[in-house]
Amino acid sequence: MTVEIRKHICPYCGEMLDTADKLKGHVFRMHKGRGLPIPEGWIRLTVNRSEYNLKVEPKWTLNHLIHEVLGLTGSKQFCDQGACGACTMIVDGRPILSCMMLAIECDGKTVQTIEGIAAEGHPLIEAYTNHHAMQCGYCTPGFVVTSKALLDRVPDPTDDQIIEALAGNICRCGTYQQHIIAIKEAAAKVRVRKTAGKEET
């Protein structure tokens, strides 16, 4: 997708300016007390290794953008108030709640969703199905994304570290015990892969 170059026109006097920042300064100086023009809202976003140029509305959350606009429906929106962890995504290496982050503030960021983790063939997916760490499955993408961020940081987590890292995810079916088993198995597989990769090169 390409960004077309737009002229920035003052809504009060019609003056044309080169950049959004200049327009903002112009309205600020010349039209005291008037509302500033809504900025263009174009952001650059890397989602699962694909780059996007997107026009976003200020009120959109990151979850709305990725779930409704880009159509990646893996991450769920459940509580919509930052209390359940079902919408967790990895932004710049850290797990965050996409329902509590504005899309317009994600300019230049790198996002990984559950689809990206599945496309990598990450052992977590297999371990979660093998150990049946789910019942209804609605919370599972959030859990897998959070665990993936944990394994990136801590290759060999202890039980306590896993419990600590998953403290922000809620599973109403109560499958918590299985998560620890699944994550430990996946961690072992990731370590094997890494050493195998090193030997090949």
Partner: protein
């Protein structure tokens, strides 16, 4: 959410001038975990015309030692503080407090200044679509006094004797006990003078003022600190009561003590009576128990929150004993 104007500020001065431009029609966004909840539920009678993003201001996220102080940038996330070596070794109470806030994901987003400046969690105030126009929204009465007040103040109310909503921050009592100073764009305020109860306001910040730094003094050797939190769940929960204590002892005698409770009063509550009990004494189980009693001697619980008095007493006692282990 309704739509609004979203403006990135690239310097503190720009943020301030934008705030002056809009007056109280603009809200500041940093981590956004508190603000977006407020906007989604439309809890207030007013809705912001503009949201000013301060995450785009460079160099506001740091933890560094200089001029005999530990300086923390306002945009430092809570997980950065909880993971910081210097905080964990010298400012244990702050590290533990930052670590107990909400959930790991929220700690990755939420900032220290946002945690201090967050709004109250009273369920009447927070009810959707401004269903209860209470005193904190310039309305007529406090609905908690005759309603369900199990999580409300045990030390009386404010806003002309009314509002009973407690301040929910975890890091605020730690900062107060550690004697922190909060630098804003126009002045430096002691952390314990930072909180104020007014309609749609929890701090003394003016509409065109933002927090620019948090400064912690260095402590002499023999100082230890602790933070304890009682909540219904271990994670993703606001405190029912929390308590931070900082104690300096020499030759087995307490020279200085600062104890601060939160979620028990409309602002963080410094337990001065408990401090008086332990200063000059040794740290023992009996003294800690006496201090706990003294801390809640003036409590005036409401109909449903008598249990919080016992919780506060126990937390003060345990926080003092936790410090005693570290001295």
């Amino acid at each position: 959410m309704k739509n609004f104007q979203h403006i990135n500020a690239y310097s503190i001065d720009e943020a301030i001038s934008l705030l002056r431009h809009y007056g109280d029609r603009a809200w500041i966004i940093a981590g956004g975990t508190d603000l977006l909840g407020k906007m989604k539920d439309a809890i207030l009678p007013s809705y912001p015309e503009a949201v000013i993003n301060i995450k785009t201001i460079p160099d506001l996220s740091y933890i560094r030692r200089s001029e005999g102080m530990l300086k923390i940038g306002p945009l430092t996330t809570l997980s950065e503080i909880a993971d910081s070596k210097v905080v964990r070794s010298h400012y244990i109470a702050l590290g533990q407090a930052a670590h107990r806030v909400a959930s790991p994901q929220i700690r990755n987003m939420g900032t220290i200044a946002g945690n201090v400046c967050q709004d109250i969690r009273c369920w009447y105030y927070r009810n959707r679509n401004n269903r209860f126009p209470c005193l904190r929204k310039k309305g007529g009465r406090c609905y908690a006094i005759k309603g369900d007040n199990r999580y409300h103040s045990i030390f009386g109310g404010s806003v002309s004797g009314g509002c009973m909503a407690v301040h929910p921050s975890d890091t605020a009592p730690a900062l107060i006990a550690l004697g922190a100073k909060i630098r804003t764009s126009s002045r430096i305020i002691d952390a314990q003078d930072f909180f104020e109860v007014k309609p749609i306001k929890t701090t003394v910040l003016q509409t065109d003022e933002i927090v620019t730094e948090i400064q912690l003094p260095e402590f002499p050797s023999g100082t230890s600190s602790a933070f304890l939190k009682f909540a219904l769940r271990q994670s993703i929960d606001f405190p029912v009561v929390n308590c931070a204590a900082v104690i300096t002892a020499k030759d087995g005698k307490v020279e200085d003590a600062r104890i601060c409770l939160n979620a028990v009063h409309v602002v963080p509550y410094r337990a001065v009576q408990a401090e008086k009990v332990i200063v000059g004494n040794g740290l023992s189980e009996a003294i800690a128990e006496e201090a706990g009693q003294a801390a809640v001697a003036r409590a005036k619980p409401l109909e449903h929150n008598r249990y919080k008095v016992a919780v506060a007493r126990a937390l003060v006692r345990r926080a003092i004993l936790a410090c005693a282990e570290g001295v």
